[in-house]
């Protein structure tokens, strides 16, 4: 049975982050998290393959709580879930994260690997192509439609100025955009059943990756995260009539010197 592996991230739910007014820092400790949006599209695409006879497997690198994303993917319908975790995996950058996922892929031997275009929190878009590079397999980015034909995958990818239809031999890695599908919402029953399913735990050591190796692969460190200052005037323009309101706006824009 051909196997599709989906790499997902339990991301910060960026819509619900708050800013500490005193320090201007974004509060991330204890902040709400969820499966990254684009990863949900990747899971949905894997489930479509599953309906065509594939086995769908999901994997993540993350802390204990990251299991929530795996549970959600199980509830959506994937067959099994793998959790790469451990204290030594804190604050990994994309170089190390992608290496662990590539090592796991070597064990799981998927025919196809799917990732979201980027995670909603850090939004680098690096992990997918990096995995492909570690594994020396073809990579197709920004894919908005996908089909498998024999031993090949055919994908339509969306670049800024062009749409390209490309093909590659499997195994291959595909990163998908939100346009590719509408992810299903699992039923309460499915969620309950998924909560009882086993999740396989792997440490870095289980994947043959030593602590020293992980340290060598730490290339990028975060020095500071702060909320951008965006000072705006916030003037609400009111008036008796729409005409009066727009006249006031035009006055203001002339004052600002922004009208041509």
């Amino acid at each position: 049975m051909p196997r599709v592996l989906v790499c997902i991230k339990h991301s910060l739910n960026v819509a619900e982050l708050s800013v500490d007014r005193e320090t201007g820092r974004v509060v991330t400790a204890g902040a709400p998290r969820k499966m990254s949006d684009f990863d949900r599209n990747a899971v949905e695409e894997a489930l479509k393959l599953r309906e065509a006879g594939w086995e769908a497997v999901v994997i993540t690198v993350g802390d204990e709580e990251a299991k929530m994303a795996l549970r959600e993917a199980l509830a959506m319908g994937v067959d099994s879930a793998y959790h790469i975790t451990g204290d030594e995996l804190k604050d990994l950058d994309t170089l190390a994260t992608s290496y662990l996922l590539a090592k796991a892929a070597e064990k799981l031997k998927p025919d196809l690997i799917l990732c979201g275009e980027a995670s909603i929190d850090s939004f680098t878009g690096l992990v997918g192509p990096r995995i492909a590079e570690w594994l020396q397999i073809p990579h197709i980015a920004y894919v908005r439609s996908l089909k498998v034909e024999g031993a090949e995958v055919i994908a339509e990818r969306s670049l800024e100025d062009r749409i390209e239809v490309v093909r590659a031999e499997m195994p291959a890695l595909i990163t998908v955009t939100r346009e590719i599908n509408e992810p299903r919402i699992p039923s309460i029953m499915a969620i309950m059943k998924a909560s009882k399913k086993e999740i396989v735990r792997w440490s870095a050591g289980d994947l043959g990756v030593s602590t020293e190796e992980l340290e060598r692969l730490r290339a990028v460190g975060v020095l500071e995260v702060r909320a951008p200052t965006m000072k705006r005037k916030g003037v609400v323009i009111e008036g008796e009539s729409v005409q009066e309101i727009v006249e006031k706006l035009v006055d203001a824009l002339v004052q600002e010197g922004v009208l041509p």
């Binding site: 960026v14 819509a15 982050l17 974004v26 950058d93 994309t94 170089l95 909603i120 939004f123 680098t124 878009g125 690096l126 192509p129 990096r130 590079e133 397999i137 073809p138 990579h139 197709i140 980015a141 055919i154 969306s158 670049l159 800024e160 100025d161 062009r162 390209e164 239809v165 490309v166 093909r167 590659a168 346009e179 060598r216 290339a219 990028v220 460190g221 975060v222 020095l223 500071e224 995260v225 702060r226 909320a227 951008p228 965006m230 705006r232 005037k233 916030g234 003037v235 609400v236 323009i237 729409v242 005409q243 727009v246 706006l249 035009v250 203001a252 824009l253 922004v258 009208l259 041509p260």
Partner: protein, 315 residues
């Protein structure tokens, strides 16, 4: 310290990227190099030689189509020979894919979508937007490093160099991905990044034909029309959008029409000088980042605004 390299998938960005590269190379006590790779690109070598200490040229007929894996392998082989400290790529979709693959070949760190870029104590330090535009993250990367820089993040200055043209001899690997078909997108947003005035529509616009309201306003203001991601992706009215994952713009005047102001959208308009919001929802997040707010029906406000501007500007 052997230098700062620049490769851009968009030729027009070499000026700004090499200006930055020159500033960083000076701090490192090193030189700059522009990588000119592709088919029929030789004619551009002279103009790049005026902007960089070296131009590495690879002009091959089989490089007519950009496949990131092939370009990453070529640049990697050059980097193995010359060991640059930093490779700067443009942050387009092609550029980002290239930077990820190249950085992995080099076992190097990569920082995409840089808004600020510097070297401090031998490390590359960059700012980028994270958390859907809610925060700016300052990150440090050991060298060698690969970064992808957002378009127009840096100013272009005139560089007066007489760079050396080096023809490189690298075997072009065969692509692992093959092109079946390509078609041009109807690009509506290319002018957005240059526009002084941008009028953008959001989900408050009910029907496609109502976009003419925005076009009328854009016409009297000599501006461009853009939109939020849902209007492009979900409704298919535009090919591209303004926001974190789309165009990041910095016009003098931005008028948000029927836009709620999801943070991902706001991330794309952060650098606008003046933001006006027209929205019936007083609680809409866009109002918190606007200079002038009109809480009224866009279908009444926009035509009235068009008339008022016509009168004022005598058009």
């Amino acid at each position: 310290m052997t230098g700062v390299w620049v490769y851009s998938t968009d030729f027009s960005l070499y000026g700004e990227l090499l200006t930055k590269a020159d500033e960083l190379a000076e701090k490192l006590g090193a030189g700059t190099a522009a990588l000119l790779i592709g088919r029929d690109v030789r004619e551009n070598a002279d103009s790049l030689a005026r902007m960089a200490d070296k131009v590495y040229l690879l002009d091959r007929p089989e490089l007519g189509w950009f496949e990131a894996g092939v370009y990453a392998e070529i640049i990697y082989r050059l980097a193995q020979q010359h060991e640059p400290d930093l490779i700067i790529v443009d942050s387009s979709r092609r550029g980002k894919e290239l930077s990820a693959r190249l950085a992995t070949k080099l076992k190097a760190g990569c920082i995409p979508d840089c808004l600020r870029l510097d070297v401090e104590q031998g490390r590359v330090v960059a700012d980028r937007m994270v958390y859907g535009g809610r925060a700016i993250s300052t990150q440090a990367c050991k060298t060698p490093a690969v970064v992808a820089v957002a378009p127009h993040a840096f100013e272009e200055k005139k560089l007066e160099k007489a760079g050396e043209l080096v023809e490189v001899d690298v075997d072009v690997p065969s692509p692992a991905v093959r092109l079946v078909e390509t078609r041009t997108k109807e690009v509506s947003g290319a002018a957005l990044e240059e526009a002084e005035i941008v009028i953008a529509g959001g989900r408050g616009i009910e029907k496609r034909e109502d976009l003419k309201l925005l076009h009328e306003l854009a016409e009297v203001l000599n501006g461009e029309v853009g939109c939020t991601r849902p209007l492009a992706e979900d409704r298919g009215w535009f090919t591209d959008w303004i926001g974190l994952s789309g165009h990041k713009i910095k016009p003098n005047l931005y008028i948000a029409v029927g836009i709620s102001g999801a943070i991902q959208h706001v991330a794309g308009i952060r650098d606008a000088k003046i933001i006006v919001s027209i929205n019936t929802d007083e609680e809409a997040p866009i109002n918190q980042v606007s200079d002038y707010i009109i809480n009224a029906d866009l279908y009444e406000v926009v035509p009235a605004l068009v008339d008022a501007i016509k009168r004022r500007l005598g058009r």
